[in-house]
């Protein structure tokens, strides 16, 4: 846990959010600046900066994040229409919050431009 990290504060319930999923390892909640009708963040409870910060022991956690994203896409009704998974890492990647998180974005055509 990092004292001044906004996602750690959400995980500790010091900052309110509207979690749509929570277990021992992960929490999921809506992005407060949605880029599309469906925009959910999936966040590991353990504080890690980004994918550079994950080790061999985190492989199962990473897989669980992706599997959960597919489950939430289904629950949100965008599994068939389609959705994009994005993980931004570092400055060039456009990472805004320095705590690993996965974006699930859907509910409108997202086009093909990736960078």
């Amino acid at each position: 846990m990092a004292d001044d990290c906004i996602f750690c504060k959400i995980i500790r319930k010091e900052v309110p959010s509207q979690p749509i999923y929570e277990d021992h390892d992960l929490v999921a909640f809506p992005d407060i600046h949605p880029a599309a009708p469906v925009h959910v963040l999936i966040v590991p409870k353990e504080h890690m900066l980004n994918l550079n910060d994950v080790g061999k022991n985190d492989v199962a956690l990473l897989g669980k994040m992706l599997r959960l994203s597919a489950r939430i896409a289904n629950e949100k009704g965008v599994a068939e229409s389609g959705y994009r998974i994005v993980i931004n890492n570092g400055n060039d990647g456009g990472q805004l919050v320095p705590h690993l998180h996965l974006h699930l974005i859907g509910g409108k055509p997202l086009g093909h431009k990736l960078g």
Copy 2:
């Protein structure tokens, strides 16, 4: 394996590519239409449509894909400057090849627009 899938053909070496990584489960090769100076695709050898098509038994494989993306980002020299991981699923997600794949994109500022 799917007979008419371009990624399956690459995996079977029926279509040439320049793999930068290969093991029993995964292959990685450059995107032929790069969106940035670094644009690598990480692809499971088993044919799956997208994240909708993965089951509980694939969690380790998904985690391995993400962990490999961080390793390749490091090898390509963009781990510190930053990079974006994208998985497009279905039409709204902008998925062009119907075989699960992960984009690793870096080498330039990618901005914050996600959808």
